[in-house]
């Protein structure tokens, strides 16, 4: 539909003939133009309002092209041109000037719509509000097109999938824009990364856990491993209790070397005498560790004597202490076994 000066011309092509409907309504357009034209009256009321003589008022009304501006606005051309640009009457005049339809048009005459000529000095500049409206409308149209296209595609995919095996496709729903940058979600992401890293570390520690996939199964294996280790500690303590408890570990030499260390701090009522005070570090640890290690090169290995026939207190692992009548066996670490035997 082409709208030309308030008239609607519907052209229907049927072969070679062109039917034009509503050409008679052009007469109403001419009447509207006559009404919009300036009336020729004396305008005494206008003269009284404007405090101008009657001839000047008539000149102002009859000649709209010449615009008389006050002296204060004489220099500002933009201020003067702005109301004429945005006014409704200026648009109506533009439409009347640009419409090239004669009043006495025949029914077979072709209707041609010409582009309106911009009255501004700058032809490229256009109305910013109109541009925004155009952009918004085009964006809406594009969105609607995309939406219809996506619905068509999803319908076609659904039809294909229902035709193949009646399996619905997996639709991945994305999160909103602001959620990924939220501080809570970032903290939760960092927490999940920490948990995953520590689960990997635990998988490396627990034997046979690398093959298992799934956090629940990994946690089950970790629990079983910790339980088995704790049971092993209990069994070993049972064995140590069941072993001949008259064995006395002779650590007097070590204790003499270790006399100044902070590990000698005793806590009353404790089985284990070496408890740390809170916040106290282990100072000069390397000096003491050097004293702990004994030279195992000049000592016989356990279970092997150089002279099997002749056993002396120097070559035996368990030597009987004849000086004491306590009847206890003494475990002599100086002659039999190095300290780092336990660290193997």
């Amino acid at each position: 539909m082409d709208r030309i000066a308030g008239t609607e011309v519907r052209s229907v092509n049927c072969g070679e003939e062109i039917e034009e409907i509503g050409v008679d309504s052009l007469q109403f357009g001419e009447e509207i133009r006559r009404l919009m034209a300036a009336p020729t009256h004396t305008g005494s009321s206008f003269a009284a309002l404007l405090e101008l003589p009657a001839n000047q008022v008539m000149e102002l009304l009859n000649s709209p092209d010449t615009v008389r501006t006050p002296a204060s606005l004489a220099g500002d051309h933009h201020v003067i041109e702005r109301p004429s640009r945005f006014s409704v009457f200026a648009a109506a005049e533009m439409s009347t000037e640009t419409s090239s339809i004669p009043s006495n048009s025949t029914p077979h005459s072709h209707v041609v719509k010409l582009e309106p000529v911009n009255s501004d000095s700058n032809p490229n500049s256009s109305d910013p509000m109109a541009e925004n409206d155009n952009r918004k409308s085009t964006k809406r149209k594009e969105r609607e097109k995309k939406g219809t296209g996506s619905t068509k595609q999803s319908k076609s995919v659904a039809n294909e999938s229902s035709g193949d095996g009646e399996k619905l496709p997996y639709v991945h729903v994305r999160a909103r824009r602001g959620q990924a940058t939220d501080s809570h979600s970032l903290a939760e992401r960092a927490r999940r990364e920490k948990i995953n890293a520590r689960m990997k570390l635990l998988q490396e520690l627990v034997p046979g856990c690398n093959k298992i996939s799934g956090t629940a199964m990994v946690l089950d294996e970790i629990i079983n491993h910790v339980q088995s280790l704790q049971h092993q500690v209990e069994l070993l303590s049972m064995r140590l209790a069941a072993v001949n408890p008259r064995i006395d570990v002779n650590l007097d030499s070590l204790l003499a070397a270790e006399s100044g260390s902070p590990m000698d701090t005793n806590f009353p009522g404790m089985v284990m005498p070496m408890m740390w005070p809170e916040g106290q570090g282990y100072g000069n640890r390397q000096q003491y560790e050097q004293l702990w290690y004994f030279d195992g090169l000049h000592q016989p290995v356990l279970g092997r004597e150089d002279n099997a026939s002749f056993i002396t207190p120097e070559t035996s692992l368990l030597s009987y202490d004849s000086s004491k009548d306590s009847g206890e066996f003494r475990f002599d670490m100086q002659f039999s076994v190095p300290f780092y035997f336990f660290l193997l």
Partner: protein, 149 residues
């Protein structure tokens, strides 16, 4: 902290504790099962305490072990106060956790001091606790093999 230094300190402390254990009488050649079980309990406490002292106070599970050893040596009258404190200090579990609630709860019961931990710290403490437990088992096996020969 290096694992070798932990191993060295644990070995030294555990042997020293074994020396200070109450010695049995020389006359009694056979030992009653009650005495053996009591001695086993003492050795178990000694291993826990020596392991915790070797690790140091930086780890939460070692601090919890020390508290447990101390509380077991105290009188029964004061022990319920410690239990009440630990119940008060329990963390309110909220939100989803990895692997479901039952597995994390059982892991909290296994790791000393795990009742008041979040899941992330619990996993880190569990990893360190497993390392130290394996060290403890190795050293105790060596000592048992030495004494049993």
């Amino acid at each position: 902290m290096k694992q070798s230094s932990i191993k060295t300190r644990f070995t030294y402390g555990f042997l020293r504790t074994l020396k200070r254990l109450p010695k049995t009488r020389a006359k009694s050649s056979s030992f009653s099962p009650e005495e053996i079980s009591k001695r086993c309990r003492i050795i178990k406490l000694a291993t826990d305490a020596s392991m915790a002292s070797a690790v140091g106070p930086r780890r939460a599970w070692s601090r919890a072990l020390i508290r447990r050893v101390r509380s077991q040596r105290r009188q029964r009258q004061r022990q319920w106060l410690v239990m009440r404190r630990t119940r008060r200090g329990e963390r309110k579990k909220g939100g989803k956790e990895v692997g479901g609630g039952g597995q994390t709860d059982s892991l909290r019961k296994l790791v000393p001091g795990g009742e008041t931990m979040e899941l992330c710290t619990l996993l880190g403490e569990t990893a360190h606790y497993i390392k130290c437990l394996t060290t403890q088992v190795q050293v105790m096996r060596n000592i048992v093999d030495l004494f049993s020969n």
